[in-house]
Symmetry: C2
Subunit: 371 residues, 2 copies
């Protein structure tokens, strides 16, 4: 899919301000940002910039980013890692440290994360730890990273015994969401990103759910005007939630709507079989069904959400892992307490909460949506 | 050396409050703290406590600490690492993560650092990163760690290309400085700790320098009353400096009095030849001489400080690395800017500042104190 320059030029640059006191930062959203000189203004001054990317994204955008940065930094270095979640580990984090130290990068060095969630999480954590903290800028190149990783300050690498187990809360100094880079995203990954966009409707903004339903064709055609609104509103909602709960003690859990079922699907099938967003899409159908069976939402809400998720190109039927396996996988969820599984449910359109649910009811919910 | 119970009982428990808003914490100083039930009150509640120590300290104090913690935590686990700076690396940090994850420790788990600076730095960094941050308690078992690592929130591991290059600013929830544990410290390590105690006088408190001179025999006899005062005043001074500059942008550099010369000595002889405190002791003599040659301090200040450092059992003559080597090593110091070496100097008794100095003058300073 190629968008004409004319359509691109119709999007204005929008900014969402993430207000965290001293650690506040702007998320800049627009088409053609990588090529626009303004995008690169107001960054921390330093002698050296280091762009961290992966072998898939670097051939597409590294040259453009380095060229833009060369105007502001005496030295622009790059670290290109292999692509994929399997490489979000200490070994590859250390590759960044090795390069920074080999090149004598000082504590003013600015890191740039050019890639999806994996590159963002790893680079953010590298920035958090290098000389006890250097500034970093996020340039998310997937829809999922633009609407999810842009806000919240979660950085991490995986450990063989658990995902995201080693990390830090560390905020970027700026996030650049260039909508044009989403054109290079494969259909399946784009749909996976839409799952997280859709999520923000039922948990926080009924009007946004209406808007997504009406504008799904434009979004799927990657219309930059529609994308700009979807990314901006998603970031605003996440910022509102995170702003009230930066360290994830309570409210922030509602961002995990669909994720308890989704994580079980991902883990049960083996990570990588379904994309995270696909599992979350299907998980939201199950969580909607659960909300209905708990007497919180009418049956037509389940139908409505399932239809939207299906139209977005996402799976809506749960893989048959066996009910016992589902229950076992959900009991190790980080939200579980003393073995009781707690689910994010929709209490009314635009409002979510946490509820425990009897095993038998959860089993019925899964059974009702098996593939 | 064995202190009688009678002398020990004369020290009252003292507390220095480190005021950092939400991240404030107490440093509790006294004799017999490990055995006192009160020491362990007010800690974060959790199911699991994990004590990290090394093979030298664990046989002496691990059982006592675990016994005390068993009253408050359902599970008390231990991780015992090899002793020494060479093991303050990612491999051993990962040993802590491996154990935490293998034992399914959740994000409320409390870590306890039982050891000197290496254990404190590594455990603090593990706490900063595990599940993006769990609480930790410091139980420093060396004089150096009690008067230095207790305050400032610096945690880190080493990288093959540099010391303390990977780390975080992360505050403990409590520090327990048991003066009795200092009895098991070898003479040489005790003297090394005294170097940092002495340092606080010239940089911040002329009266404290007088007090140290008068009480050095009691300190070296490890009299708990004298030690209590030395540890408390050192922590207070460091807290005052750090409180004005938590992230080390300016004033905090004065804590590095003697360290620019000291680091050169450590690196030039090969790390481990001289203890850090020994190099700092000698470095302070050189920095005092430099302060004199810059016209800031009279010659008798140099004599006075050198005599005190010598009485504390520390080296006062610089090893002959060759002047060129000294200059080269000091130019890579973190305080260097654009290749110009900047030194912490004493401007008047109790007040320090940062100054550049001509190479020829620095060479004269070193030459005047060669072994």
């Amino acid at each position: 899919m190629v968008l004409t320059a004319d359509r691109t030029s119709r999007t204005e640059v929008q900014t969402v301000h993430i207000d965290l006191g001293e650690r506040s930062y702007p998320i800049v959203i627009g088409a053609g940002l990588l090529a626009a000189p303004d995008s690169w203004s107001g960054l921390p001054r330093a002698g050296t910039a280091v762009v961290v990317s992966n072998v898939t994204v670097a051939p597409l955008y590294m040259a453009r980013v380095k060229q833009a940065l060369a105007v502001h930094y005496g030295r622009v270095l790059e670290v290109v890692l292999p692509d994929g979640e399997a490489h979000k580990d200490w070994v590859h984090l250390n590759r960044v440290f090795d390069e920074l130290l080999a090149q004598a990068c000082d504590r003013r060095t600015v890191l740039f994360a050019l890639g999806g969630g994996v590159i963002g999480d790893l680079t953010g954590f590298a920035a958090a730890c290098y000389m006890r903290g250097v500034p970093f800028v996020q340039i998310p190149t997937t829809l999922l990273a633009q609407v999810d990783s842009s806000v919240g300050g979660k950085t991490a690498v995986n450990h063989p015994l658990g995902k995201n187990m080693i990390g830090a809360f560390y905020q970027p100094v700026k996030v650049l969401c260039d909508l044009d880079v989403l054109r290079s995203l494969p259909e399946r990954e784009f749909s996976a990103g839409l799952a997280e966009v859709i999520k923000y409707g039922p948990i926080a903004d009924a009007g946004f759910l209406d808007w997504i339903e009406a504008n799904l064709p434009a979004l799927m055609a990657r219309d930059p005007v529609a994308l700009a609104h979807a990314v901006r509103r998603s970031c605003e909602i996440k910022a509102w939630v995170v702003g009230q709960d930066e360290r994830e003690s309570g409210l922030r859990a509602i961002l995990n709507f669909g994720h308890t079922f989704g994580h079980a699907i991902e883990a049960g099938l083996g990570y990588g079989q379904w994309l995270h967003g696909e599992a979350v899409g299907c998980g939201m159908v199950l969580a909607a069904e659960l909300s209905h069976r708990l007497g919180l939402m009418p049956a037509d809400f389940v139908v409505r959400l399932r239809d939207l998720i299906e139209r977005a190109g996402l799976p809506v039927c749960a893989p048959d892992l066996g009910l016992a396996k589902y229950m076992e996988l959900m009991r190790v969820d980080k939200k579980a307490e003393d073995g009781e599984i707690r689910f994010v449910v929709i209490e009314s359109l635009g409002r979510a909460g946490m509820r425990p649910a009897p095993d038998a009811l959860v089993a019925d919910v899964i059974a009702a949506h098996l593939a």
